[in-house]
């Protein structure tokens, strides 16, 4: 007899009792149950809004995103809750800030007493839930919620070559940790001396055989957890998956591009080399990586080329979704877990800094059958995705959720609302935040609080995004009253978040 999970059983029972089986079949064939629409949450890793021409970037990096935006709602002030994958993804899936879910460290996890508070579980048994992340760190978090998903896809899914071992175990989270994050990790020497050597030798031999003539910088691949893939094949696989899913469905899809290593298609390689665009020069930051401006500029060029590649494949993907009828019966949410920073001596996102490019992510939502464009300028945050998805699915929103329903989808435009982005990768997960950077967004202002980084001394920066989006003029000393008000509010919020850990 086939293995029927508790979730499957409840679904069958619910269908039988309510006589919904017929309706399910019909919606599976492309119909739309408006009270339970299909929802696709498609996330690009390290995609900053600031380098997309859709959001005003001078380089034409995103003509296809622009085309898609003509049929979508575009959020212009959407910030990620974190500045790298772990906190960004965890906030998106749990609807709370990093100081609550505590997935704050490199390869960190959501606190174990909160595992029931996730988007898959909250959608309930009538939703057919799928989770897929190409990147290791997002997979670790996703695997924590595996029991609430109908389909958990391996990072290796849709790839041309991969060596991921832990996903084959029912105990996925710790198998991934023990095998892929430790014994066979690509970063340092693998901790498995014999099988690790064999595995790496085999991987390189196989990777060498992949034709790479279309990719001057090599075939796209992930970093420390080896997955080699072609973006067009990944998108083709996704289209097929979405087309064949039974309704109503919710899919979380986390794609690795445009995360480094930047691997553009040949037609986009070098496309910006002579365009004479130079971003404003910014001084090196004390907490930056110390790269000189030339290296940072070259990093930006490579990133922009890869963005153009991602945009090209995204355009094909959206066309295919349209042709398959998926866009007629599904919400398609496009966003990112965090951005990328090419300024102040930094390139990438492994930094404690929280300047706009690293937390300003794109957010575009296409509603089923939508044919016009809407622009929303109220500040929103990745914690808002969970309540919005629940709202779209007709589900109640739990009171512990820190997010609000997005404007345009049942929520109000609140320009004075405070939202936060948190970086605390050097802080123990279950202790008060003593080494962290926190950005607080309120109205047109943004306060950045560096806690414990400068030899224990606190440091603040205040920027007016209305007049200084490049964050060149620190107003902290000139706007004392405003700075104090924002500081006090931030302290109060932080103290409340830290309270339960202070007593441990």
């Amino acid at each position: 007899m086939a293995d029927i999970s508790r979730r499957d059983f409840l679904k069958i029972a619910a269908s039988s009792l309510s006589g919904a089986a017929l309706s399910r079949t019909l919606t599976g064939l492309g119909g739309l149950d408006s009270s339970h629409p299909n929802i696709i949450l498609l996330l690009f890793d390290a995609l900053t809004a600031r380098n997309l021409s859709l959001y005003g970037y001078p380089r034409r990096t995103s003509p296809n995103f622009e085309r898609f935006a003509e049929r979508a709602t575009i959020f212009h002030r959407y910030n990620s809750s974190g500045n790298y994958t772990v906190p960004g993804v965890a906030s998106l899936l749990t609807g709370v800030y990093p100081w609550t879910h505590r997935a704050i460290n490199h390869s960190g996890l959501v606190r174990r007493d909160m595992l029931d508070r996730n988007i898959f579980g909250l959608l309930g048994d009538e939703y057919n839930c799928t989770g897929f992340a190409q990147t290791g760190w997002a997979s670790f978090i996703l695997s924590q919620f595996r029991k609430d998903m109908d389909t958990y896809l391996s990072p290796a899914e849709f790839s041309i070559l991969s060596h991921i071992f832990g996903d084959g175990f029912p105990d996925t989270t710790l198998a991934l940790r023990g095998l892929d994050d430790f014994m066979f990790k690509m970063e340092k020497s693998p901790s498995s001396l014999v099988l690790g050597s064999l595995e790496r030798t085999l991987l390189y031999r196989q990777a060498n055989k992949i034709p790479s003539k279309d990719y001057p910088r090599g075939i796209p691949r992930t970093g420390a957890y080896p997955v080699y893939f072609l973006l067009n094949e990944v998108f083709d696989g996704l289209v097929k998956m979405f087309r064949d899913q039974s309704s109503p469905s919710f899919s979380y899809v986390h794609l690795f591009p445009p995360h480094a290593p930047y691997s553009p298609l040949r037609q986009f390689y070098g496309m910006f080399w002579n365009d004479k665009y130079f971003p404003p020069s910014k001084p090196k930051h004390k907490l930056g990586d110390g790269y000189d401006e030339r290296k940072v500029y070259i990093g930006r060029l490579s990133y922009d080329e890869y963005l153009a590649t991602v945009d090209y494949e995204f355009g094909r993907f959206v066309d295919s979704l349209g042709a398959a009828g998926v866009l007629d019966n599904s919400y398609l949410i496009i966003t990112s877990d965090h951005g990328e920073l090419f300024e102040r001596g930094c390139k990438g996102h492994d930094t404690p800094l929280l300047y706009d490019p690293i937390i300003h992510s794109p957010l575009l939502i296409h509603a089923p059958g939508q044919n016009d464009r809407r622009d929303i300028y109220a500040p929103v945050n990745s914690v808002d995705i969970l309540p919005t998805v629940l709202r779209l699915a007709g589900k109640p929103i739990p009171d512990w959720c820190a997010g609000k329903i997005l404007p345009g989808f049942g929520g109000e435009e609140d320009y004075e609302r405070s939202t936060y982005s948190v970086e605390a990768k050097l802080n123990p997960a279950f202790a008060p935040l003593k080494t962290a950077t926190i950005a607080m967004r309120k109205g047109q202002y943004k306060l950045i609080y560096y806690k414990g980084y400068f030899g224990g001394e606190d440091w603040y920066e205040l920027y007016d995004h209305e007049h200084d989006l490049e964050e060149l003029h620190n107003l902290y000393n000139s706007e004392k009253t405003l700075a104090t008000q924002m500081k006090n509010e931030l302290f109060e919020t932080l103290q409340a978040a830290d309270q339960e850990f202070s007593s441990r």
Partner: protein, 186 residues
């Protein structure tokens, strides 16, 4: 040669249990030692967000991999003993076996050191591998010829058996832990 003949040929060429454990002890020391070294290197960051239970389960997965790879490495001297003439290798199985596995594992460590951080094999790797094989073969030959060296290495092997008593029970326990986690989903 009949089945019985093959069996007797095979068993006559297999090392004794005492010889096997001496060589295996050295393998266990190096293979498990390498993993534990990296585990301790990782531990401070994992302590930030993993619970004690999670750390132990993670360690269990590692120990199982170590168990498998220690048996794989043991196969190398055993196969050599089967294939090579008696006086070439099996006569001084412990000493020559210990030298073989130690050098082989050091070569693997060096290999990993060379290819870590790269995305491809470095140039000239084939020549280096060949050189390593020649050096290992020469040193095995040497240890078989010098009585004192042979004795010292053999003693080291005998003393290393203690590590089997430490790591084999840990490996068995680890297998149980992983089975419980995956089959009983506990």
């Amino acid at each position: 040669m009949g089945l019985m003949g093959w069996k007797s040929w095979f068993t006559s060429r297999l090392p004794s249990m005492g010889q096997l454990t001496a060589v295996y002890g050295v393998i266990v020391l190096m293979v498990y030692g390498w993993t534990i070294y990296w585990y301790l290197w990782k531990l401070p960051s994992w302590l930030y967000f993993l619970t004690l239970g999670e750390l132990l389960v993670t360690f269990s997965y590692a120990m199982i991999v170590n168990f498998i790879e220690s048996l794989l490495i043991l196969l190398v001297p055993v196969l050599l003993g089967l294939l090579l003439p008696h006086h070439w290798f099996r006569e001084r199985f412990v000493a020559q076996g210990v030298v073989l596995v130690v050098l082989l594992l050091i070569a693997l460590m060096n290999y990993l050191n060379v290819i870590t951080g790269l995305q491809d094999f470095p140039p000239g790797l084939g020549g280096k591998v060949l050189a390593a094989i020649i050096v290992i073969a020469f040193l095995i030959f040497l240890v078989g010829r010098i009585e004192l060296l042979s004795k010292v290495v053999g003693e080291i092997g005998n003393r290393a058996t203690i590590f089997i008593y430490i790591f084999l029970p840990i490996s068995v326990l680890s297998i149980f832990v992983v089975l419980i986690r995956n089959v009983l989903r506990f």
